[in-house]
């Protein structure tokens, strides 16, 4: 009997205003896999990731989580994913530490929070309100979640935007250890990753859309 993949996407189609966004998407992800979504701007990378997080409902096609449709095991599925989108979801009036505490599992200890912030280079900024931090630092606060989360599946939408080279290195190291621990990652980025066995998935804009423009 073939092993059920951790995540299985089958002929996923999304229409917005009667217009198909991309050609049907199908792929499987196993534990330990990292998939990089590629495609030109506006191809629907963000839309695809939001479909996977179930923030959007697909027009047709299915997403299976360990063989079950995610609609049938919704909360179980949501509890095992981590999504970091374009906007960092950081509150300006809260400090870096308060923001990370809010975004991390309840069981996270104070020292784990401090360690995570130190990992992303925010040592010394823990108690600074976020409005006095830069855009790159806001992203770092959001990305510090990667060091506190217990989620198995990571969805990262352009995680390296506004992050410097050194930061990218740290994040990739963390991603590597996540994969080694049996997690999986799906991310969209235009950068080439310095990691082994990155699978690339090319997303194609639907042929409808070219006609329209």
């Amino acid at each position: 009997m073939p092993k059920t993949p951790l995540l299985s996407v089958d002929r996923l189609v999304f229409e917005r205003d009667d217009c198909n966004i991309f050609e049907p998407v199908s792929f499987n992800i196993e534990a330990g896999d990292i998939v990089q979504i590629e495609g030109p701007n506006g191809a629907g990378k963000t839309t695809l990731i939001r479909l996977l997080t179930s923030a959007l409902q697909p027009t047709s096609g299915s997403i299976l989580f360990s063989g079950d449709n995610i609609a049938d095991c919704h909360y179980e599925y949501l509890a095992s994913i981590l999504y970091i989108g374009h906007q960092p979801a950081v509150k300006m009036t809260l400090s870096a530490e308060e923001n990370l505490r809010w975004m991390s599992p309840a069981t996270t200890t104070a020292s784990e929070i401090d360690a995570a912030l130190a990992e992303v280079g925010l040592r010394g900024y823990e108690d600074v309100p976020c409005y006095s931090l830069s855009a790159g630092q806001h992203r770092r606060v959001a990305l510090a979640r990667l060091f506190t989360t217990g989620s198995k599946i990571w969805y990262l939408d352009e995680p390296f935007t506004a992050i410097d080279k050194q930061g990218v290195g740290i994040l990739q190291a963390r991603m590597g250890s996540h994969l080694a621990a049996g997690g999986c990652i799906l991310l969209s980025t235009h950068q080439d990753l310095a990691m082994d066995k990155v699978r690339k998935y090319n997303i194609e804009p639907h042929s409808d859309r070219e006609q329209q423009q």
């Binding site: 917005r16 205003d17 009667d18 409808d208």
Partner: protein, 259 residues
Amino acid sequence: MASNRHWTWFYRLGSPRWFYETTGRWLPWLWTLTLVLLTAGLVWGLGYAPQDAKQGNSFRIIYLHVPVSFLALAGYYLMAIAGAIGLIWKMKLSYMVMKSAAPIGAALTFLALFTGAVWGKPTWGTYWVWDARITSMLILLFLYLGVLALQYAFHSQESGNKASAILALVGTVNIPIIYKSVDWWYTLHQPATIKFTSAPSMHIDMFQPLLLMIVALYSFYALALILFTRAEILQRERKATWVCELALQAGKDSAGEAG
């Protein structure tokens, strides 16, 4: 799936093309019916119905005011139900019906208010009174305008549809509450000397044309709704092959007429 077979009529009903073609066959009949009923009802009501003992001839406005108000309110429920069907079964046609019902309902509500005001002047001596029913009608107008405004506020057709469907549903839950509370508010403030709310018992000769006008307005409403929906279908389905063929055919016909 075989178990879904008895649902096919439902989905066929949801097909814009099926709707467009079927209503296309109905239209000539509906036009005739509407025009005949409206003419008959108006002539009967304005010319043949006996005049009211107290109000004189101004009471003849009732033949427009009551049917129009009736349809204005019924139209809101129709709109909300269409929106709910759209939300639940994701049926595109249903949203189109909802979108078409909004301007018709708003126009009829406006007419109800207008005819009410014109009727009020000779009867009560003033164009506007904060009477329970008039106030409720005014609120209904704003509910309609809200749905319309929300529909067009979104760039995305789909978001507009969903948002106005939700708003229409919220409004539906609210309408009975609004009506009851306005009614209660009115009894609280109503001066004891004037009473408009008690409906005068109508003579049968006056009632028959009213009934006819209500039927005529139903027919009119159906006609207007179908016409608006058909225009909306063409716009939404403009990329479908059958619509393209239709457009080319229409182009040829008009070119033929011109030549």
